[in-house]
Amino acid sequence: MSSFWAITAATLAKDLRLEWRSKDAINSMLFFALLVVVIFSFSFDPTAEESRHIAGGLIWVAFLFAAVVALNQTWAREMRNAVLDAYRVSPAPANPLFLAKAFGNFIFVSIIQALMTPLFTVFYNLRPLGPAWQLIPVAILGSWALVVNGTFFAAMSLHTRSREIMLPILLFPFSIPALVAMVQATNTILTGQDSAKFWIVLLLTYDVVFTVACLLLFETVLDAE
């Protein structure tokens, strides 16, 4: 059991080190996220009152597109020099690899979120009328929902043509329940009407169900040859 987490930690550390060495990937990602925020702000120009009702949707959709670009990158590295094969022939189990990739993506995606959220708040003059602290579990659970399935589907896409378009094609339909939950939760917190508790519980359920499913099926998908 300890070696399971040791391998997860070692793989995560290796990925972070690789990411740090080739910083251009992070920089272009962050710039892309910024561009998405600006374009959305130009396209949807509501009043302060209206914006509270739609900001949830805007933020999460913009975030979804930025996240997909990031998710595509992480497995691409493993395909160069066939390094993934080196992992597969080793006695290491498959799930530490999945978890390490998922955690790495989560960190990456949270950085993007930390950049985009203040910008949206400024551009739309957002001020939550409901309990603002609830936005934190929504952000964490929502990001994990996208990341866990995104990492899994990105691994699936490795075996396909048109790899980069396959990820959103698979991810978007399956994420719809989570997306509805994230958007509705954010909107209810911002407008202060109703409680977001149902949506947070739904997000939690979604996260648990799909984390388990991914862990059970990842080895099958990785070894599909």
């Binding site: 040791a6 070692a10 290796k14 080739s22 020099n81 066939a82 390094v83 094969d85 080793s90 006695p91």
Partner: protein
């Protein structure tokens, strides 16, 4: 060991082997350093593996394969894209590995390099074994 190097270009030799060692439950640096020295490379070299010459990279791939002390090694075209000098160095290296008690299976188009070193040559054609000899044979018109 195969055509692509199975190494991370952005990491140094030690960093690569430290990571792969972890996958095999190998802790600590000295086994990694040993494996690198065995293939006549320098463990303290901080240069990323992607900047190595082809010959050095091939030897580094060999180090990775040797790290967990396997009994059998399978090598696919270990001399491809390597200059003659590095290739003969590689051959001597493989000889010492064989002498240390390991079994090596090599697939190569350049069997002439192994004259006098390999224990057995197996010639294949159309998916079938054509001949098995102690000395290398040349058959007219054979594909390999």
């Amino acid at each position: 060991m195969a055509h692509p190097s199975l190494l991370y270009d952005e990491l140094s030799a030690m960093e690569n082997l430290r990571y792969f060692g972890r996958l095999y439950g190998i802790e600590g640096n000295h086994r990694c350093a040993d494996a690198i020295r065995k293939v006549h490379l320098d463990p303290s070299l901080a240069r990323p593996v992607g900047q190595y010459s082809q010959g050095m990279r091939q030897r580094m791939s060999l180090a990775r394969a040797l790290l967990h002390d396997p009994g059998i090694l399978l090598l696919d075209e270990p001399f491809s894209n390597v200059d003659a000098c590095s290739a003969s160095e590689m051959v001597n290296l493989l000889g010492t590995i064989r002498d240390a008690g390991k079994t090596l299976f090599l697939v190569t188009h350049q069997a002439a390099l192994l004259d006098g070193i390999a224990d057995e040559f197996v010639l294949m054609g159309a998916g079938k074994i054509v001949s098995r000899t102690r000395e290398r044979q040349i058959i007219e018109g054979a594909p390999r």
